[in-house]
Symmetry: C2
Subunit: 127 residues, 2 copies
Amino acid sequence: MHILTLLAKANGEWLTSDFIAGSININPVLVRKEISNLRNNGLVISREGKNGGSLLAKPAQQIRVSDVFLATRQGAFLGTARNTPNPDCPVGKQINQQLDNLYEEAENALIQKLGDSTLDDFSQRFD
Amino acid sequence: MHILTLLAKANGEWLTSDFIAGSININPVLVRKEISNLRNNGLVISREGKNGGSLLAKPAQQIRVSDVFLATRQGAFLGTARNTPNPDCPVGKQINQQLDNLYEEAENALIQKLGDSTLDDFSQRFD
DNA sequence: AAAACTGTAACAAATTTTATTACAATAAAT
DNA sequence: ATTTATTGTAATAAAATTTGTTACAGTTTT
């Protein structure tokens, strides 16, 4: 959201990973990695070379916050089952599947809520 | 949820941390730590000594899934801001506050959804 | 040709999570 | 009473994940 907000407020200027990293206060390589992901999800475009940088791929009014969530989430966001429960226990045997079901329902409610507002709405909250 | 589901299906029997750990397939000390948290949140009661263990503090019909979420979440669940953005950037200066606002709204929608079902509903999904 | 960028890989450091060991305190069973 | 089984908790260790760094080839403008 930080990256995208900067891009939304850049008004067509190509922002460099260095500039963005300076605002977030992290390493530019991490910014480039995340931008790579946002690009793969159709939210930004980038150009290489001198005067390169990134730009929103479409108007901020057309990017829902849920699109950002979907692009940036990594697997299940509510609890990542890192353990392998006991298959000989009736609960252990099914718990991961049942939790996945529960999480999916919960996520759908969340996504619906996040679909109510756009990147433009969000970025207008800043001075 | 795994711990609570086992307790819900135990029908008044005191389950030991060893038994629960065997179902989850983790170390019993981790179970005792989480039970300590659930106890502090009024969801389970425990007793020490021989034949000790834990029990639900109230009927599973009276425990909403949102109660479990609220008891077990650690801080903000959507993105934990571990970085300190640049205070000299208009976006950096405000981003954490604005994200907190966004997350809070989103969480409220999630909590409302999770309030629709109870631990009893969840545990009945198991054989 | 030089300068300013991106893209990406390889590696290192820091942080967080998970596991283990240990043991005092407690309560039931014998 | 003593033994046994259990919780509660601290201290420490190991493993996994996240974050940061360095390096450099490739790209595009000047």
